[in-house]
């Protein structure tokens, strides 16, 4: 899906997405008729107060939870429509999506390089290719010299860089990052945000980053704001 793609081409198109938790008196509408689109090579910030539905929207786009209604098209392929998932979600995630979370969520018993290799090997890449690509990505993200260290031996910033490398390993069309800098100080947080910008522009991937950090919004091409489950284009920062 990534090969031969053009920068500016829409990689994500989500329409009228709705997610409701619970029912009756306990019903909570987390996402209400949300619509957004992201182009290749574009990095988009998703901001909003706690409980606005940002993370839920990301899980819907990432096919982690099914929406109650709406339509999702990723890379030109309709993945959810008319209350039904149209693809094998695990396979689709494996091939086309990359995830980064607040916590790096690295597998603790694998080294940094093995964490990156793993996603390629479960995607049927040869061990040799995976090894080469893992080192390439870790070097690219500035943690090449830490490749053989276990996550417990890495700093928070280094772990997050490895998590980004892992998200990039299969050359996904779309990278979803949920507050990836929340556990980092402002300097490292900004570095990671700039890293996402670099990735979006150089790897030609669409990137959506949920963030609370308004100081780093200048890094993004576009900012979307969520409130009460609805998405709208944010006013440009003064």
């Amino acid at each position: 899906m990534n090969a031969g793609a053009n920068t500016g081409e829409t990689v994500l198109q989500a329409e009228q997405l709705t997610k409701v938790y619970g029912s009756g008196h306990t019903e909570v509408v987390a996402v209400r008729d949300a619509a957004l689109s992201v182009a290749r090579g574009e990095i988009v910030a998703l901001i909003g107060p706690s409980g606005a539905g940002k993370s839920t929207l990301l899980t819907l786009i990432g096919l982690i939870l099914p929406p109650n209604a709406g339509r999702i098209v990723i890379g030109g392929k309709t993945v959810f429509d008319n209350h039904r998932t149209r693809v094998n979600v695990r396979r689709f995630r494996r091939l086309h999506l990359g995830f980064v979370f607040q916590k790096a969520n690295l597998i603790p018993f694998l080294t940094a390089a093995e964490n990156v290799r793993l996603v390629m090997e479960i995607n049927d890449h040869s061990s040799r290719t995976a090894r080469h690509r893992a080192m390439e990505l870790l070097e690219y993200l500035g943690v090449g010299e830490r490749a053989e260290h276990l996550p417990s031996k890495l700093s928070g910033g280094e772990q997050q860089r490895v998590a980004v490398a892992r998200a990039l390993a299969n050359r996904p069309a779309l990278i979803l990052a949920d507050e990836p800098t929340a556990a980092l100080d402002s300097v490292h947080g900004r570095q990671v945000m700039e890293l996402f910008r670099k990735v979006a522009h150089e790897q030609d991937a669409g990137v959506i980053v949920v963030t609370h950090d308004h100081r780093a919004l200048d890094v993004f091409d576009r900012t979307l704001e969520m409130e009460d489950g609805k998405v709208r284009e944010a006013a440009p920062a003064l």
């Binding site: 899980t59 995630r93 494996r94 597998i107 018993f109 093995e114 793993l118 996603v119 949920d178």
Partner: protein
């Protein structure tokens, strides 16, 4: 990339301790099987080695091992007169317990029909067979007697001239072999006072009957040793062992002797069946049940261990699913660890057992067939034990990464 081995490497200490625990549990399972085999082997060892075709014992008894058998000593001569019999020899078996160096010493005394049977068929590891008709003994090494050592039994002292290995009775007591007369002396030993009282009682009985009054010699002899009274036979024996002539069907000889109203006769296999089916059977069934329980307990413990190991990895498993890993990757992680745990536990069981089982007071016999069977069982319980963890892992949602 093998996730199971990476996880084990990361938690190596815990895995080693868990493996040792499982291994010791499996060693108990292995040991139970070995004890059962040992029980059968101990029970049948003498019957298998003694080189006889038929056992003649007291009528309607399952002697001489399964129960007490007493037959007159002249039965040996009667049996030898049966057509087709090559040789017959008397056999005495009894168990005695004495104190030695402050410790109880239990010996199963076996009487050999000297001079025909000197114990040359015994598995000697040191010394020689009996060289004289009295005051010599061949002891099993488990009695911890050394060559040349003397042991006081009954009113005599016996010198150890030979040492055997692995000979014990069905009840697990170590065997020692004596000339028949010595074995009888040990079996029927009485204190001096008991002998005096018996002679006195005999004298009183003789006085009360007409024969005593009319035959003074009868009264006189009643005060002497039993062996000097022709009316009293020699001490009884436990059995007569019969060897048939080459070319003669043992069943044919057996059917002749079986027709006698005062004895029962068993073939060598029949005697073996009596031992295995009688003495050993209940112990065997008890051990088999206990072994089965141990296997079930091992399975449950392994399942709990693997379940706990899986619980520790639920977040990682959710992450694997989020990254799109197939179920096979997750199944492989748990199943490989289960089989590795079982396999290494089995190796621990074998290695520790090889060093520990010889120290057990009773024989533990591990045969290759049992080892293969247990290996199969271990693989089976490893797979079954991992199912609980696998079921849990398959229920994990990728969204749990976010929690």
């Amino acid at each position: 990339m093998n996730l199971a081995s990476r996880d084990i490497r990361h938690n190596f200490g815990r895995f080693v301790l868990t493996t040792i625990g499982v291994g010791l549990l499996l060693m108990l399972v292995m040991g139970m099987g070995g004890i059962y085999r040992g029980l059968v082997q101990e029970a049948t060892l003498l019957v298998d080695r003694i080189d006889t075709d038929l056992w003649v014992v007291q009528k309607d008894t399952r002697g001489p091992f399964a129960e007490v058998s007493r037959i007159p000593a002249n039965m040996e001569d009667r049996v030898s007169a049966v057509p087709g019999v090559l040789s017959s020899r008397a056999f005495v078996s009894t168990t005695v317990q004495r104190q030695r160096n402050g410790q109880p010493l239990r010996i199963t005394v076996q009487g050999l029909s000297w001079p025909e049977d000197r114990g040359q068929w015994l598995p000697l590891v040191a010394g020689r067979a009996l060289g004289q008709g009295h005051y010599e003994m061949i002891a099993d090494e488990s009695l911890k007697l050394s060559l040349g050592e003397t042991v006081a039994l009954a009113k005599d002292t016996y010198t150890v001239v030979g040492i055997t290995r692995g000979l014990s009775s069905p009840s697990g007591d170590s065997m020692a072999f004596f000339a028949l007369r010595d074995a009888q002396a040990i079996q029927f030993d009485q204190s001096g006072e008991a002998v005096r009282l018996e002679r006195s009682a005999r004298y009183s009985r003789a006085e009360r009957i007409d024969l005593g009054r009319t035959q003074p010699q009868v009264i006189e002899r009643s005060l002497g040793p039993s062996s000097a009274i022709p009316a009293l036979g020699p001490p009884v024996i436990s059995a007569v062992l019969v060897k048939v002539q080459p070319g003669v069907d043992p069943n044919q000889v057996q059917s002749v002797i079986a027709g006698w109203p005062d004895v029962s006769v068993y073939s060598s296999d029949g005697e073996r069946d009596l031992l295995v089916g009688g003495i050993v059977d209940r112990s065997r069934r008890q051990l088999a049940l206990f072994r089965m329980l141990l296997i079930i307990v091992s399975g449950i413990i392994m399942a709990l261990i693997l379940y706990t190991l899986t619980l520790d990895k639920l977040h990682d498993i959710a992450m694997l699913k989020l990254m799109g890993a197939r179920n096979g990757v997750i199944l492989g992680l748990i199943m490989q660890q289960a089989i590795l745990l079982g396999g290494l536990g089995y190796v621990v069981a074998y290695c520790v057992g090889q060093r520990l089982f010889p120290l057990f007071p009773r024989r533990v016999v591990i045969i290759p067939e049992d080892l293969w069977l247990l290996a199969g069982i271990v693989v089976g319980i490893s797979v079954l034990a991992s199912l609980l963890g696998i079921a849990k892992a398959l229920r994990v949602e990728p969204s749990e990464v976010l929690s």
